[in-house]
Symmetry: D2
């Protein structure tokens, strides 16, 4: 890379958990250079005070429209990026937004699930590299998938996107368990250690904002879905990880061996998807960008069970964001991630 | 109760986690008297050494066919009770067996799921009080339900046993998360703290031995089921509790309000079942004999989501066992349990 | 107890963790009757919504000076009880205060550690039953010890209060690990699950408000201590329990056997202190009113190591408070606690 | 490094937790090349099956005296390395042993604490880089410090090795909390999740094998110590980390500012030791090679409190081992570790 000047990267919203993972990955990335870390309530504070494990001699700065870097990651609460992204794009910057602001094409779905109006054009390339590699490669501004959405879409895409022998998906039930870092750096009583240790709690049953995102990515929509989709998110006493059980009902009874082959083929060139002979475990993917998938024999007629595991902060957020940046920059997509 | 001599209770297999909970409950029960605690590898050891929180000045003894107590609880590894129960029944003892040995009526299912031959007649009253109160009251020897089975059957029975307006159940998917005490006092590497902290792991997918038990209790069978039943058990980093998400597909689309009413009616006289307006939590039922049930609006056509939570060692084992004993003795079924 | 009307008990500050444990214990106590549950931010809410495991059909009420019960427990943030207790005493009520408001006799120490002025007379009987049984029995208004203080004082009293063969204590170092319920129902980011899982953190090193309380109970004072006392409190990822390691340096080298005998003698009539041959464990005392104590051979000249374990919410708060009430009422002190 | 052939590294005992961390670090190290992974019970198994997060396409092999690599790490149960190291040294290999086999110079102490005879000469350079950098640099075979020992020695060395103004250390008390990975991949019942969740347990009080190692490194010995040393190791419910509280009694009363300066000076050229203004946290050092140290004002006359935190598998084992290798190879000691 002699003579080559590494692109510079700044992170807006660097003080949350996803922002801290982005900081860690970007600061060690061999082919980009970490530039500024922007934060809001933490502006002025030292990175090493908030995240001593990062060991970075830097301070969080206040973001006031700076555009001096080549690439911008935004890891902000939903709603903030809608405001900041347009001028970054206008300034010719490469943008990866980790919020939900630019994921949904349908403004009515956005309003319903995010309680916020937005225009139909406020939608960027939905950057799930395993499904939309070409689109990502041809983009300079992308919207990074949600954490649950990643674990669910990767488990379903081979059956929903390129149906197996015209075997149509009829119904899907999905139970997903998330670690508590998924809720962000939180000061809510119900997410305190004493309330979540030894506990499991379902929430937003049937109302989670990743539902329309999942259906859109799978080629249908929450408004007029082409199959039933039932999603129950839960939190359990672990810090990282999403563990997802998918029960898929198909038109015709599938042979599990055929389905496995189909998944193998589908993910042949996806370096971060691993098909596993036994059920995955969070420990197997924690602190990595892998999505592990296990396909189990269906127990009911026409059904198959697919189980996936990811690290919500890596493959479900910062890792996938860097994977997308790598693709947009024309790099090997695993750079800085293994 | 003046002049009344309390029935005496002995526990065979008192040194496991369910045995210890039985010991705790029976030792504080107002209307029975704890007699002997039998154990195998722990025979000769002091109860207070193994379970100091019980604070009982007793020793585990070796069981060699004693029949001096009025009531016997058996909390043994599967296979052991088959050998011991017949002579206890013959000696006229009241028996509550917590193992799977006497649950399945179909010897072929027993062989398939427990890898052990048994005769068809080796089956005792299946003692789930909320469903079979009368049968339990008229029995003197009963088989206590499994822990997953309890959490699942209670969530399904109102729809499967007494269908709502002839609304037939077509398919059920079930994801259930168990605390690690469910695996018993274990010395397996994969259940060590370092392997299970921050982890989630599915296991026995489609092969769990509670599957035939659940279907039998719901009036059908694993061999020729009248509806699809897909069960994915998981372990997560908590000690106690089972959290179960049930997605039920019905013939006709149900109104959630009607289903809630139906459940209210079904469990009207069940003191340990609580219908809850929000998703249950393990912390709400831990150390209690309650089963909390929440019914959520279905997200797909014809479906409804039911979520249940129990303490696997109490309602899923020792508490339900004592509830059954209370019923058999003609006591208030909540005695010693609230 | 025929013809006897049970005394009624109300709890002011019933919605915190100690208040909930008090509610649980009092509602099952055989010889008192739970009357009102008062709370501040939770006033108007249902007890069963906040603590479903209590299963109590009651609501939290607003406290506005009511005096209709016989006995009042106060489990309030520090500072609140100072305001409420005087009128309860004036109304002739029995009072057990669980806060730090009435523990310190020295107003300067109170100001220094609680950042609040109070008068010297605002001090009630310091109700550690194992040390001050007579005083408690003769009191009608008492101040319940702090959680760390309980675990530390019980480990030290036999050597500090009734020195062994004039073997003077020279120095004590104390490291204590608390579960997170010790911080109360909290909405602080640093006590969230994601921040405390897999973590250990010391805090208030050398500045914890239980230091003067401990020294006062041991017959000396923080202002002019008769021995060195070094206290490092820590929090670790567990909900309940305090685990305390005490290294005690004595004037003359002690024989560990003599010390054990001395402790045995000292706690001969203390039903909740258990001297254990091996190091205690939190699991051995969780959900009980026991304080387990182990005495290990000293590793340095003149030293001995004492390790104690309690449940911070029971022996460190609600259980000890009920033990004190039992004593004040002339009941067996274990009533409702085993 | 053009034209330079990277040294090859093999790991004997690669399937335990320290071995897995070594594998991870070495496989990503920029200036050495991972060669073979040897294991005993896991020989023949795939690395990716046992540690999927490593994502290495390799198998564990059986070690039968191979010497084809340039560098050997041994991460074996105590006793095994004694047998294997001599022939590796004879074959001219660079050796880093992570066991206790070669740490103690005094055969009697080795026999007492490791229950195994060894000769006085079976002792290699004690490789704590912050204290013995020169010796390590001049060695080709070193003994890597124990995990507790690392956290304790680094907290004490500045006061014990280069006394501050002739301020002699008189007594030290040490309480240290370890995560459960410290016990290795275990199948012991007492280390199962259900036994350690929500628990704390002291063990080997006054008998831990790191005691003589600590005293030897600090320039004295367990047989004739020049100061009192009292060590209480504990396990708590976390996977990684050691948290150590040291109370140090000195001859003269120290000014905490002077002590802080003294530590700053002592660790000026130690890239992995960080002096922190607030108490450290396990989360701050987890998955890093840092040792964080906080010095608190002494609470008793002549005392100071020092608190340290490390990741037991990194700075307490694999990371420090690689740091030592870096030094022996003449590399920057942080290579592959930040």
């Amino acid at each position: 890379m002699r003579g080559y000047k590494k692109p510079t990267v700044s992170i807006i919203g660097a003080s949350g958990y996803s922002g801290a993972e982005l900081t860690r990955i970007i600061s060690r990335h061999p082919s980009v250079k970490l530039d500024k870390l922007y934060a809001f309530s933490q502006a002025g504070n030292s990175v090493s005070d908030l995240y001593p494990s990062l060991n970075l001699p830097a301070h969080y700065e206040s973001y006031e429209g700076q555009t001096e870097s080549d690439i911008y990651f935004l890891a902000l609460p939903h709603g903030e990026a809608l405001r900041l992204v347009p001028s970054l794009i206008e300034a010719g910057k490469m943008v990866v937004d980790l919020s939900g602001d630019f994921r949904l094409k349908n403004p009515e779905e956005h309003l319903k699930y995010y309680k916020q109006e937005k225009k139909a054009e406020a939608c960027m390339t939905y950057a799930m590299p395993e499904l939309f590699h070409e689109e990502v490669r041809n983009s300079t501004a992308v919207s990074n998938p949600g954490c649950y959405a990643t674990s669910i879409i990767l488990g379903l895409a081979p059956l929903c996107q390129t149906p197996l022998k015209e075997n149509k998906v009829l119904d899907i039930t999905c139970s997903a368990i998330s670690g508590l870092s998924g809720a962000g750096r939180s000061s809510k009583t119900e997410l305190s250690f004493a309330e979540m240790n030894d506990n499991v709690r379902a929430y937003k049953v049937g109302m989670h904002q990743h539902t329309p995102e999942i259906l859109q990515a799978l080629g249908t929509s929450a408004s007029t879905p082409s199959f039933g989709f039932t999603f129950t998110p839960m939190i359990a006493p672990l810090t990282r990880g999403i563990y997802t059980v998918l029960n898929i009902f198909l038109d015709k009874h599938p042979a599990v061996s055929e389905i496995r082959e189909h998944y193998e083929k589908f993910y042949r060139s996806a370096p971060f998807v691993r098909l596993r002979p036994a059920p995955p475990e969070i420990l197997h993917v924690a602190h990595t960008n892998f999505c592990d998938i296990h396909i189990a024999e269906g127990q009911a007629k026409g059904s198959v069970t697919v189980i996936t595991a990811i690290d919500n902060l890596i493959k479900g957020a910062a890792g996938q964001a860097v994977q997308n940046m790598n693709i947009m920059l024309g790099y090997d997509e695993t750079l800085g991630l293994v």
